[in-house]
């Protein structure tokens, strides 16, 4: 065999081996290190999109609040509506007609922003082509629902649109007519689904790249926004680099020049970055470290408008019996769970709705009360045992194994283990813990393939309605098989009620009904778990855990 080619190739082999390292260094060199932004915060996973109308979720919401602005913005502490794109607004006596006066605002590319932008954007939100998850937020507007549901028919589209209660008498005025009184409508205008989009750029990219316009439109340099910040750089799974938008109407009051939004999935990593001073705010902390963190001044959990509960499948035995559900609900040692496991100051809850809903008389599931939580719990357990016995379970007829679903997460695992252990000890119920990954867990929940399933609900706005409409018989998010005509009727009546007091009373009645039927087992109300650099000003704890970066500033000059 001739070995010359081999010799030659062998020398080439060294080169081949060296090649990846050279490439690695080149790749490293190309990635010039970014300067530390004025403020950087950890934002869970990568945001799914920068289109405010299609995204849902808290992480996305934070980015939207930095990039865009709606008619109003929320006060960082009280959450009261402040003027945003609208410099003022008024509403008619009937509470149905709202007139917004827009300010002289501009898009980040210098184009003026007027009421037509809002009309076009809100129409896009409703259109089926957009497939916007948040379209229903606008259904409170007259004719909006009909348009959203009928617009797939091109023939009827324009007619339906003309019936929608939106009008722009002039470039600076926007008139909205609501279908029914909606106390939270003004709050809604600061929600990202109702943010305006820049029509010209969007349509430009849609025409030029019919197949992949979204990825073109969202690129830094292409994306046109109207918020306090604009997009400078985006690295998937790494960060969004935002810079101050000089065209923003209130730019003079925006303190930060740059803002980094880091996609940090691993909570320990986020904590490490915070402790090393590379990140100024993280929104979650490792459960195991809560105690150490509570000793620090920069960790101050605050009540949060969100409930943690378990859904119960009321369609299959043994949980189709309300006595069983009540027994399960009573035999949860909420006090021990919140003080010994969660430890962040979560409040034990016997209701679906969380604390802190103004004017709302929050009913609770009937349970023993005692100054000593242990004694109350013992009494509850006794009742629970009696209930199980009454339901026919006892020495002769053992309770069948109960399937408890939860999605993969340390906290969910902790809660499930503690609850299962408790049920096993106090009620003698064998609990099968089924840890599932997110999508499988959801699928099982939607298709009612569970006995008990971990759940939570985070309030979109501070109103019991938002929580209670979940469990309407035909609610998309019901997922328990629960259906009660009386309950549906009360919630519907409340929606139509013009008197706020009566409305809340009706909702309270509905919740009491829910807590008697118990398609859910209330467990606790959330607290926020922000770990924030104490020198970051304009950052306040609030019940919706929203922290618009527009107001952030350094209390003293950063190092």
């Amino acid at each position: 065999m001739s070995s010359t080619w081999r010799e030659r190739l062998r020398h080439g082999l060294l080169l081949m081996l060296a090649l990846p390292f050279v490439l690695a260094l080149v790749a490293l060199g190309r990635r010039a290190r970014l300067e530390r932004a004025d403020v950087a915060f950890a934002n869970g996973g990568e945001v799914t999109s920068l289109d405010p109308q299609v995204v849902t979720g808290q992480a996305e919401g934070r980015v939207m609040n930095a990039l865009y602005e709606g008619l109003t913005v929320k006060h960082p502490e009280t959450l009261a509506p402040l003027p945003g794109m609208a410099e003022s607004w008024e509403f008619a006596e009937d509470g149905l007609t709202w007139t917004f006066r827009l300010r002289d605002a501009r898009w980040s590319n210098g184009d003026t922003l007027d009421s037509a932008d809002f009309l076009w954007s809100w129409r896009r939100l409703l259109e089926p082509e957009t497939a916007a998850a948040g379209a229903y937020h606008l259904f409170c507007v007259q004719g909006a629902r009909a348009y959203a549901e009928g617009a797939h028919d091109p023939a009827r589209r324009e007619a339906l649109w003309s019936a929608v209660g939106l009008a722009a008498p002039d470039a600076r005025t926007l008139v909205v007519t609501l279908a029914r009184p909606t106390p939270w409508f003004l709050a809604l205008t600061s929600y990202h689904a109702l943010f305006p989009l820049h029509r010209a750029s969007l349509e430009h990219f849609q025409q030029r790249f019919p197949a992949r316009w979204e990825s073109e439109w969202m690129q830094p340099g292409h994306l046109v926004t109207n918020g306090p910040f604009k997009l400078r750089e985006r690295r998937v799974n790494d960060r969004l680099r935002l810079v101050k938008n000089p065209e923003y109407w209130d730019a003079a009051n925006v303190a930060l020049r740059t803002l980094d939004v880091l996609a940090l999935e691993h909570v320990h990593t986020a904590l490490n970055l915070y402790l090393a001073g590379e990140v100024d705010w993280i929104d979650r902390v490792p459960p195991a470290l809560v105690e150490e963190l509570l000793a620090r001044p920069d960790f101050r959990p605050a009540p949060y408008l969100a409930s943690y509960f378990y859904r119960v499948n009321v369609t299959r035995p043994p949980c189709d019996d309300v006595r069983v559900r009540r027994a399960l609900a009573l035999a949860i040692d909420r006090h021990a769970l919140t003080t010994k496991v969660l430890k962040k100051g979560e409040r034990p809850s016997w209701s679906l709705t969380p604390e802190g809903l103004a004017g709302y008389a929050r009913p609770e599931l009937a349970h023993a009360r005692d100054a000593a939580p242990e004694a109350a719990f013992a009494a509850d357990c006794a009742e629970a045992r009696a209930l199980l016995a009454a339901a026919g379970y006892g020495p002769e007829r053992p309770f069948p194994p109960l399937e408890l679903h939860y999605n993969t997460s340390e906290t969910h695992r902790d809660v499930a283990e503690v609850l299962a252990d408790g049920w096993r000890r106090t009620l003698g119920i064998e609990v099968v813990l089924a840890n599932q990954e997110w999508k499988a867990y959801l699928d099982a929940q939607v298709h009612l393939r569970y006995d008990v399933s971990r759940s939570s609900w985070i309030g979109d706005y501070a109103d019991p309605q938002n929580f209670l409409e979940v469990f309407l018989s035909d609610g998309d998010n019901n997922r328990t098989g629960f259906g009660n005509a009386e309950y549906d009727r009360r919630v519907a009546e409340a929606a139509a009620a013009r008197d706020p007091v009566r409305r809340l009373a009706l909702l309270s009645e509905a919740e009491a009904l829910l807590l008697a039927e118990l398609p859910i087992l209330p467990i606790y109300s959330y607290v926020s778990q922000n770990l924030v650099n104490p020198r970051l000003g304009g950052f306040f704890a609030n019940v919706q855990d929203e922290h618009p970066p527009k107001f952030w500033h350094w209390k003293e000059r950063p190092r």
């Binding site: 490490n272 195991a288 813990l433």
Partner: protein, 456 residues
């Protein structure tokens, strides 16, 4: 002596040399290798301990005591609240206030329980304050009291109770009547055992150690579960996964590799290319997929007897046999050229016989070494999946899960050192032993490396 007889004699002698020589020598070398011997003994202990975990006087790996994680304490065997038990809960008359009445009620119920169940019951828990009117008895674990039959037991007790109550009141020894109602019976062995073997072991434990158990020698985790117990019980899954991986790799890999290497030619080429194809598939992806599939279809698959563990075994087996097949194939190709195989072929032995009798024995050393390398990698794989949250499910526990928990315990704010130490110790020492044993095996089976093998 005829030439024939002498020939037979020579052959016998030759056979004796072959039969005894290399293997006995290898064994001798292995035994002489003290490190390898120690490793083998250690592994034997780990395996035995893991198999006999319910027998050991350990705390329950599952029963929690909420609160802080507690550091290790040197607590000898003692009566620390035996978790494997049958608990009977009674509701007592509200009027029962005096200590003396309570004591007599307890006595009466203990006697009743003894009559009903034939086991020595004792008071486990009474109301935390005297006015709480509850009482729990605990019976020691016995084989006939296995958890599945806890309710049956309670039924027996309820019958006895009913027989001895008049108007719902139980007559106490030493006078007095008290209203007593059996409200619950629960049986737990502290880790949800289902197998008869474990139940038998628990009964043996009860016979040997009674209510005694070890204190938290390695500390407890954040939910107050004994780490030592979790590690010992966790070894069952970890070792099972490792052994399953090894088993598949042994059977599929060796047979596939041997056939491919022995056949040679086109068949060999195709079989090896197929291995290449499988080699190219990122197996982590397959694992993740199988596990998501399993999560989604768990009810259906559970009906077929397939759980997450079975899937683990399946997938890990799929991954591990490839390397083994390649290695074995290479060795067989080399062996095939050797004189003794030629000789066997000339003598007319069938292919199967040549493979089984002449080739496979020569692979033993290599296979043993690769197995000791496969076991650790499979165990680490399990740890890796646990880290991703795709590992074993609570309340089951494995070393991988504990190692993943250990990562949670490491942070710049505080290091809960014992949660790191325990899993690191168990995983580390077991894998170390496996490696040492593997090295020892290789040295022992490869005499070329000389006698220094014993000197290390």
């Amino acid at each position: 002596m005829s030439a024939d007889a002498r020939l037979t004699g020579w052959l016998a002698a030759a056979r004796a040399v072959r039969g005894a020589g290399p293997w006995r020598a290898a064994l001798r070398r292995l035994v002489a290798d003290r490190a390898a011997l120690a490793a083998a003994l250690f592994l034997l202990c780990v395996a035995t301990g893991s198999l006999a975990a319910p027998f050991l006087p350990l705390a329950s790996p599952q029963v929690m005591q909420l609160g802080e994680p507690r550091p290790p304490r040197l607590v000898p065997l003692g009566d620390h609240g035996w978790a494997h038990r049958v608990t009977l809960e009674f509701e007592l008359e509200e009027a029962l206030r005096s200590r003396e009445m309570l004591a007599r009620t307890e006595q009466t119920l203990v006697a009743l329980a003894r009559r009903a169940c034939g086991a020595q019951a004792r008071v486990f828990r009474r109301g935390q304050r005297e006015e709480t009117h509850g009482l729990a008895l605990v019976l020691p674990y016995r084989r006939d009291l296995d958890p599945a039959r806890g309710s049956e037991l309670a039924a027996r007790l309820a019958q006895h109770l009913a027989a001895e109550t008049v108007d719902g009141k139980l007559h106490l020894r030493g006078g007095g009547d008290v209203a007593v109602r059996l409200v619950g019976a629960s049986a737990t062995d502290g880790y949800g055992t289902t197998s008869r073997f474990d139940a038998w072991l628990l009964a043996r434990r009860q016979a040997c150690f009674g209510f005694w158990q070890l204190g938290p020698l390695l500390g407890t985790d954040a939910k107050g579960r004994d780490l030592l117990a979790r590690l010992v019980f966790g070894s069952r899954i970890s070792l099972a996964v490792a052994l399953a991986g090894a088993f598949v790799s042994l059977f599929v890999g060796v047979v596939y590799g041997a056939v491919s290497g022995y056949a040679g030619g086109k068949l060999d080429e195709r079989m090896m290319r197929f291995v290449d194809v499988l080699y190219s598939i990122p197996f982590l992806f397959v694992v993740i997929f199988v596990i998501t599939l399993l999560d989604a279809w768990q009810a259906e698959l559970a009906g077929l007897g397939i759980g997450r563990m079975t899937a683990f075994f399946l997938v890990l087996g799929l991954v591990t046999w490839l390397t083994m097949a390649r290695v074995v194939r290479g060795e067989v190709r080399a062996l095939r050229q050797r004189e003794f195989v030629e000789a066997a072929r000339v003598l007319g032995a069938s292919h199967a016989r040549i493979l089984a009798v002449h080739i496979l024995p020569h692979l033993l050393g290599l296979v043993a070494v690769y197995l000791t390398l496969t076991l650790p990698s499979v165990m680490l794989y399990e740890a890796f999946l646990s880290f991703l949250g795709l590992g074993v499910r609570a309340p089951d526990v494995s070393w991988g899960l504990l190692a993943a928990d250990a990562l949670e315990a490491i942070s710049p704010l505080s290091i809960t050192w014992w949660l790191v130490l325990g899993p690191a110790l168990f995983l580390g020492s077991t894998l170390l032993a496996l490696n040492v044993l593997g090295d020892g095996l290789r040295d022992a089976l490869d005499p070329r490396l000389g006698p220094a093998g014993g000197a290390r």
